[in-house]
């Protein structure tokens, strides 16, 4: 299947919709129960909860697992953050006889990038359904005004399905999605040595402070390394617009460069990056594994972002 359209939606659209299935994630973050709480009583179809195989001993994580077990009658299925294979097994059980057109709700607020990329790959590769509409919902996080410790990059890998084109010797163009850590992209530059560097930030973001923080933290990469001398603004609150803008940025370089997107900022722009790579298979989307001094516990602002991805045969 291919991505037919990306649309922005409202929480009320979700509340009024009937879904065939719904996927949540259970982790240590408080945000992982924010969306389920907002959707109590809605017609979500078959519910499935995936739980991270690590950090299960954290108090918050135990409470969240208990929440899903008690409130949704669905204990989490454990899954490694690096391997979405159980998700494939789950999706393969959906009968195409019963559902020629699928409606799926996916809460990616606390999901690993590999998990929702796995789901997207399944939508891309399956041919048993005439159409699939996937509503993505994301609880926007609140970050405090404080120093964010640098992340030490451990490894760089492609996202499955987003490997890009095998290089024929073309120069490399890297497009960074910037977050609050300025050192991560800089260390990647040393390693990747691209010919062209572009960058984008979530703007408008969750707040003016978020935008200013991202620009400040990444001032060096924007001023000294970005080919265009600026960071592109992709709105956090509109996946359709971000997807479109990012496709345009990438398209400028596709003909003459091997292009790789490396999203290191907020999840919705990570989703936009993956969708661009799935739509333009010669464009790679990479993810970065790294180390931080401690788990970041991010609280919900209360705002949610809802987007619909329409897959068609």
């Amino acid at each position: 299947m291919y991505i037919h359209r990306v649309e922005d939606m409202d929480l009320s659209d979700v509340r009024n919709e009937s879904y065939d299935l719904c996927m949540f994630a259970s982790g240590y973050e408080d945000r992982c129960t924010n969306v389920p709480e907002l959707l109590q009583g809605c017609n979500l179809g078959e519910i499935h909860v995936f739980g991270f195989s690590d950090f299960r001993d954290l108090e918050s994580r135990r409470l969240h697992d208990l929440y899903f077990t008690q409130e949704w009658n669905t204990p989490p299925t454990l899954m490694s953050p690096d391997d979405g294979s159980p998700l494939y097994e789950y999706l393969n059980r959906i009968s195409p006889v019963e559902h020629s057109h699928l409606r799926i709700l996916l809460d990616y607020s606390s999901m690993s990038r590999i998990w929702y990329a796995t789901a997207f790959n399944w939508f891309r590769l399956t041919s048993h359904f005439s159409s699939i509409d996937v509503d993505l919902i994301y609880s926007i996080g609140r970050y405090d005004d404080r120093e964010y410790p640098p992340t030490v990059v451990r490894d760089i890998m492609s996202i499955p399905g987003c490997e890009g084109r095998l290089s024929g010797g073309n120069p490399l163009a890297v497009i960074f999605g910037l977050g609050f850590d300025g050192s991560g992209p800089l260390s990647l530059l040393e390693r990747m040595e691209p010919n062209v560097v572009e960058a984008f930030v979530a703007s408008p973001g969750a707040s003016d402070w978020h935008v200013k923080q991202a620009l400040m933290a990444n001032d060096e990469i924007i001023r000294s390394f970005s080919t265009s001398g600026r960071a592109y603004n992709l709105p956090l609150n509109s996946l359709s617009t971000s997807f479109q803008y990012l496709s345009e940025i990438v398209s400028y370089y596709r003909r003459d460069y091997d292009v790789a997107i490396v999203p290191m900022g907020p999840k919705p722009l990570g989703v936009a990056s993956i969708l661009v790579s799935l739509k333009l298979p010669d464009v790679a989307c990479l993810r970065v594994a790294g180390d931080r001094p401690g788990p970041e516990v991010v609280k919900a602002t209360g705002d949610v972002l809802v987007s619909r991805i329409m897959w068609r045969n």
């Binding site: 973050e29 945000r31 690590d54 391997d83 494939y88 393969n92 606390s110 690993s112 990038r113 590999i114 790959n121 399956t126 996080g141 970050y143 030490v152 990059v153 451990r154 490894d155 760089i156 890998m157 492609s158 499955p160 399905g161 490997e163 084109r165 095998l166 290089s167 024929g168 010797g169 073309n170 120069p171 490399l172 977050g179 850590d181 991560g184 800089l186 260390s187 040393e190 390693r191 990747m192 040595e193 691209p194 010919n195 003459d256 790789a260 900022g265 907020p266 999840k267 298979p281 010669d282 790679a284 990479l286 993810r287 970065v288 594994a289 790294g290 180390d291 931080r292 001094p293 991010v298």
Partner: protein, 620 residues
């Protein structure tokens, strides 16, 4: 296709510090061929070791046919091309390429091996097409004949690689077909993982490349050898760049090639020191250094054990590098040499210095020298040549530096890190550092060109005035030195710990020089032995890979890297930041330096930099 070959306007090549970002013509026109290069252009397997920025990629690219064939200023290169004795293929293992290999943690080891071999096969064949294009241009002058040959060979290669259904008649079409094949293969792999029941009915994609590693490349070589009239003695060189990003499992597979290499297909593999991870192969026998392959260590010590000749070589190299890039600089109205730009070095160009009793230098020795050193100076007064050999050369720069630092007041700045030989020394003869330094210095070059002949600061020595003032040069070198150190923190995995260790080493050396009476024993190296903590040893290896520490290799065996014991000198690039003299001195135990700074063993370092593993870097 290399679109950057289409660059029509001149770029300032001092702003481009990595060969990856240069067009073929830019690489060729600025290449300085050294004895190492000619050593590599030979029928041997080589593993090329060099710190980041040491020029490995340039060497590998210049071995490739499309670069070598354009190196027309060098008779040996012209002869190699004309005689068809060497045909090089350049294959880069860039981050996205390696990232695909690492993105499948569910694969078993045999599956990982098979996937690596498949991808290596198809990547080498794509790279082969670039080389073939270059061969056609070099060996078939008539355009009509060349086009016919391209059509014929494209078709035969396509048949060999089981792509004949696609009616391919040109190299670009063939390249595109291979890229498409790779894409379909990845989709096929994902379908087999995602939907095993569907996969049972699917045909395997790209079976022609699902064979023994490099077999498709060997078939291709056989197909083209006759039509291109390649002699029996023709040697193909597969130049695999940046193997340090691969895993030990991949190195084992590459080692198997080295072991079984024929005379007609040999390998040049570049990696950083200590990042040739294993000698094991996929058979029972490991590869043997000196028999199956040779290491070639390309980092050049600006001050080797034979002293002057290394300096002369490096100055020559730097001069040529500067001249070639400067000649291509846009808007240049007149030629400027590196020496005109930077002048002489107070610190390193000792020249004719007055050491007589009562002279300024003697006074500095009296103020800063140890009692023993002062006494020794008095004893050597009778022979100026002995004085110069035993004391003068060793103390001159150190005394000026101690005095310069001690005399700094308020906003005063040092001027001593200046002069061509100091700049070249502080680059560690690393081409990337040299280019970076030249770039920064040229940005400070004045609009109007000055004239030479003004007296310098060192007593009794006339110094031609450089175009960039010493205080500016010092400022540039010090900032560069500081940035080199700061950037360590961002290195993947080891950054923070490595930074702490380098601070400890540099700090020890700085204190030794500036807070003790001066003798001819200046500390510029660390010594390690077999008792070294394994984690500290891993940091030392990382430092060598990044060009922060350099092994004191023996002149008799310069390609042999010390293993868990030996001496390593601090990069001269860090000398300005730590206010050190950029020259070889004595060694002290690394454990002593770390203990001195409170970082006795890896436990302390690890505790200070304890990190929490995160599977992906993104804001949540």
């Amino acid at each position: 296709m290399q679109p950057n070959q289409r660059i029509q306007f001149r770029r300032d090549l001092f702003e481009i510090e990595t060969a990856k970002n240069m067009s073929r013509d830019e690489v060729v026109s600025t290449f300085v061929a050294t004895s190492t290069y000619w050593r590599l252009l030979s029928a041997k397997n080589h593993i090329i070791l060099g710190a980041r920025g040491s020029g490995k990629t340039v060497l590998a690219k210049m071995l490739s046919h499309d670069h070598l064939s354009r190196f027309t200023s060098e008779p040996r290169a012209v002869a190699a091309i004309r005689s068809r004795s060497f045909i090089g293929i350049y294959v880069a293992t860039m981050v996205p390429w390696v990232g695909v290999l690492k993105s499948k943690p569910w694969q078993s080891e045999p599956e990982q091996e098979r996937f690596f071999q498949w991808r290596l096969n198809i990547s080498c064949c794509i790279a082969f097409l670039s080389t073939l294009r270059s061969c056609l241009e070099a060996y078939i002058s008539d355009i009509g004949e060349r086009t016919k040959m391209e059509r014929r060979l494209s078709s035969e290669l396509a048949a060999s690689w089981l792509l004949e259904d696609l009616s391919i008649s040109s190299l670009p079409e063939l390249e595109h077909a291979l890229q498409e094949l790779d894409r379909l293969r990845l989709i096929d792999m994902e379908i087999r993982r995602a939907m095993p029941s569907v996969a049972a009915d699917r045909m395997v994609v790209g079976v022609a490349f699902d064979v023994e590693a490099l077999a498709p490349l060997r078939w291709a070589i056989r197909i083209v050898s006759g039509p291109l009239e390649l002699p029996e003695t023709c040697t193909w060189l597969l130049c695999l760049d940046e193997a340090e990003w691969l895993d030990p499992l991949h190195h084992r597979i590459l080692n198997t090639f080295l072991r079984s290499a024929s005379d007609h297909l040999l390998f040049k593999i570049t990696t950083t020191p200590y990042h040739h991870y294993t000698l094991e192969t996929n058979t029972n026998d490991p590869i043997a250094v000196g028999h199956d392959f040779e290491y070639v260590y390309i980092d050049r010590d600006p001050v080797s054990s034979d002293g002057e000749s290394a300096d002369v070589d490096n100055m020559q190299f730097a001069n040529q590098l500067f001249a070639k890039r400067y000649a291509r600089r846009p808007g240049v109205r007149r030629r400027v040499s590196m020496n005109q730009l930077l002048g002489e070095s107070e610190l390193l160009d000792a020249g004719r210095v007055d050491w007589k009793p009562g002279s300024r230098m003697r006074e500095l020795l009296r103020i800063y020298g140890s009692r023993e050193t002062v006494a020794r100076a008095d004893r050597l007064d009778h022979s100026s040549s002995q004085f110069s050999d035993q004391l003068g050369r060793k103390l001159h720069g150190a005394l000026l530096l101690k005095d310069g630092v001690a005399q700094l007041r308020g906003r005063e700045e040092l001027t001593l890190y200046s002069g061509a030989s100091t700049v070249v020394r502080c680059s560690d003869a690393n081409p990337r550092r040299l280019v970076q330094l030249f770039n920064r210095l040229l940005q400070e070059a004045p609009e109007t060109r000055g004239r030479g002949g003004k007296q310098g600061r060192s007593p009794g020595r006339p110094v031609a005035r450089p175009l960039i003032r010493p205080v500016i040069q010092t400022r540039v070198l010090t900032t560069f030195s500081q940035n080199t150190l700061m950037r360590i923190q961002g290195e993947p995995v080891v950054g923070r710990e490595l930074y702490a260790m380098m601070q400890a080493i540099g700090g020890f050396m700085r204190d030794y020089l500036h807070h003790r009476p001066l003798s001819t024993d200046q500390v510029s190296s660390v010594e390690i032995d077999k008792d070294i903590d394994p984690h500290i040893w891993s940091l030392v290896k990382a430092a060598v890979g990044l060009g922060l520490l350099y092994p004191n290799v023996s002149a008799r065996n310069p390609d042999q890297m010390p293993e868990r014991e030996g001496r390593f000198h601090l990069a001269y690039a860090l000398a300005p930041y730590f206010r050190l003299l950029p020259r070889r001195g004595r060694a002290r135990k690394l454990s002593t330096m770390l203990e001195d700074s409170g970082q006795r063993d890896s436990t302390n370092i690890a505790q200070q930099t304890a990190l929490f593993e995160l599977d992906e870097v993104e804001e949540e």
